[in-house]
Amino acid sequence: MLGLNKKDLSLLLVVTFLALCAPFILNPFPTDSSLAQFNAGYPDLMQRFVIFGIFAIGFNILFGLTGYLSFGHAAFLGVGSYSAVWMFKLLSMNVLPAIVLSVIVAGLFSVVIGYVSLRRSGIYFSILTLAFAQMSFNLAYSVLTPITNGETGLQLTLDDPRILGVSRTESGGIPVTNLFGLDMRDTYEMVVGPWSFQFNNGYYLCAILMLISFYLAIRIFRSPFGMMLRAIKSNNTRMTYTGLNARPYTLAAFVISGMYAGLAGGLLASMDPLAGAERMQWTASGEVVLMTILGGAGTLIGPVLGAGFIKYFENIFSKINESVLHTWFGFMPDGLEDLVITLVYPFVGKGWHLTLGIMFMLVVIFLPGGLVEGGQRIAGLFRRKKSGDDANKSTQSTPAE
């Protein structure tokens, strides 16, 4: 079905199920319980999960398949966001033209940067992309302020000259981004006993686009083109002496991943119409590298997992403060409570970076294949228990899963 083999199809179905049921899955704890802190099922974070999932899926098409490590992909995301916000300011609050434009502009940008950067490989390529992205960030933050609104980020205002649509609503506010009248920020809330689940229009748009992106990524991975990209990563010399020109292949991969980044940027702006220059900083590019490697570079599902992992830390762990810890450990005797809190406190709240850094190191040291490898090992353990030896066979012939 859909031109996929059975294994890929079941993977796609699992991801579809997870994405559509995310509001349930991510909110496992009752709203009033002390563990509600760990709930991630609110619209903004769910949107970020899938949007950064798209970003990482796209990055993986370049890095996972060809091995070219770009340190400048955040620039495309930023460019996508700026284009989308400009579209909202000038044309219409409908997200469709904004998203289309952001993909196109990011694509054009990546053609230019990719054409130049791909003249080099290895770390030289990484430094070239890094240099381009840092230039974009520095300029966007300062000299290009008329276009980017610099430090504050590009925002909508009450006097935007919107061609299709009004500058301000009847109640005097800024109109809301929508898809043909469907407001992106509308949320339906469902209360089931102590639980509450939020279903947000914007999230489902992002989720559907993520699923499409994911599906396309599977197709690319399994296509002759994807095979060529893997061949480039594996042995560029043989590639060349087989009469194939690696550069258009890598450039195509670069542009595709740039367009994925543009889509992610456009979606970010569609969910929350603001485009900040920090989105283009090298640390933001580094973040997508981390997502991809953490999840498992070159695997289909890895980048999505990595994106979720990092965004979860950023948004959930950073919010755990001392008083939250006191409510958790309040049941302990006083001395012990203080001791536990002293031990835990450096790793949560303002210490979330520390925990993230430790997690990176642990994953890279013990799971070179990322979280996917971790999952495979666990699955392997179970399978070995069930039936002795056919576990090896099935993992062996799927190098690109």
Binding site: F63, L69, V116, R119, R120, S121, G122, I123, Y124, I127, L128, L130, A131, F132, Q134, M135, N138, L139, S142, V143, N236, W282, G286, V289, L290, I293, L294, A297, P346, G351, H353, L354, L356, G357, I358, M359, F360, M361, V364, I365, P368
Partner: protein
């Protein structure tokens, strides 16, 4: 003309820091083939060695002075440092004043120790792993190191002054026949430049004239052959890592008075130092030093008003622009060997 001389001086000084960091980075890359994203963090830890020594020297006991009150109206607690009680107020004060130069001695064993632990405990296991993994694990380490520093020292910069004798600036202009104040330069920055020159010279001399250095250089050129000769190259590489860490650390110690150290200063230098290494040529020590000074000078020129008025924002991007131009026209960098790290 005076403006140009001034900016060359500035550039040499900026370049000193770039060159020292890039030198250590290249030593690690050249000997071990490891891309070390934690190198900036080592620079930062060096600067915090100076901060720590300053704090240690300032450890004090409190006495209550009933004649004065603190901000809450309570009797004021007056602090006296142990150093001052032990050595007398004058000697004590000057010891505290000289905290940063003293920190050089203090930092060398610490940095070498950190380098050893890092190499034996972590980096060693990553020699055979892809560069991407090396980048990720050292980047993770850099985050962990800087967060630990942040936990103990806070996020705010910590002023760490140079000894009083080095405060103020030297007027080159008068010496060269320009007006007074045309070309002035702070004493401590001159010290920093001289210090950088000494460290660079020492590292080169060490590699050039000692047996140890010759083995390491041979190892940089061809690790397998040297290994076949029955020389334990691994042990020497560990020591090299310690030395590279010490170079970064010393660069940080001496940098502390120039800009108050803060926990993220390493990250601020990280990207830059990689650009310097690549522009100089991966694995080339003289290249790293040359590129460090060159980029420092270019950056200084780009910040001149005359240039900024023609090309607004050029000082924001000059380093990256140079990197792009060099990589496109001369991919091996200024002095690199061809083909290093192409894949």
């Amino acid at each position: 003309m005076d403006a140009i001389i001034l900016q060359i001086l500035n550039g040499l000084d900026k370049g000193s820091a770039y060159a020292l960091i890039a030198l250590g980075l290249t030593l690690i890359f050249g000997t071990l083939g490891v891309v070390n994203f934690a190198h900036g963090a080592l620079f930062m830890i060096g600067a915090f060695c100076a901060v720590t020594l300053q704090r240690i020297l300032n450890i004090s006991f409190e006495t209550i002075d009933p004649t004065r009150t603190d901000f809450l109206g309570n009797p004021m607690k007056v602090k006296t440092t142990y150093v001052e009680t032990w050595f007398g107020p004058e000697v004590g004060a000057s010891i505290i004043d000289w905290a940063v130069p003293l920190a050089i001695l203090f930092s060398i064993p610490i940095m070498i120790g950190i380098g050893f632990i890092m190499e034996r405990g972590l980096i060693k296991h990553f020699y055979k792993r892809p560069h991407a993994d090396q980048i990720l694990v050292t980047f993770g380490l850099a985050i962990v190191l800087q967060e630990i520093i942040k936990y103990f020292y806070g996020a705010n910069p910590i002023p760490t002054g140079a000894p009083d004798v080095f405060k103020g600036s030297f007027d080159f202009g008068v010496m060269l026949g320009f007006d007074a104040n045309a070309i002035i330069y702070p004493y401590w920055r001159l010290v920093y430049f001289a210090f950088a020159a000494i460290i660079v010279g020492a590292v080169f001399a060490f590699l050039q004239f000692t047996t140890f250095g010759m083995v390491v250089r041979a190892g940089m050129a061809d690790r397998e052959t040297v290994g076949l000769l029955g020389i334990n190259i691994d042990k020497r590489f560990t020591i090299m890592f310690g030395i590279a860490a010490a170079v970064a650390g010393l660069a940080g110690v001496m940098y502390a008075p120039i800009n108050s150290p803060n926990y993220h200063m390493g990250m601020d230098f990280l990207v830059l130092s990689f650009v310097v290494v690549v522009v100089g040529g991966m694995g080339s020590l003289p290249g790293a030093v040359l590129a460090g000074f060159l980029l420092g000078i270019l950056e200084s020129f780009a910040s001149m008003n005359e240039i900024k008025s023609i090309l607004p924002g050029i000082d924001q991007i000059i380093i990256y622009l140079v990197a792009i131009i060099i990589l496109l026209t001369r991919p091996r960098g200024l002095m690199g060997r061809k083909g290093v790290m192409e894949d």
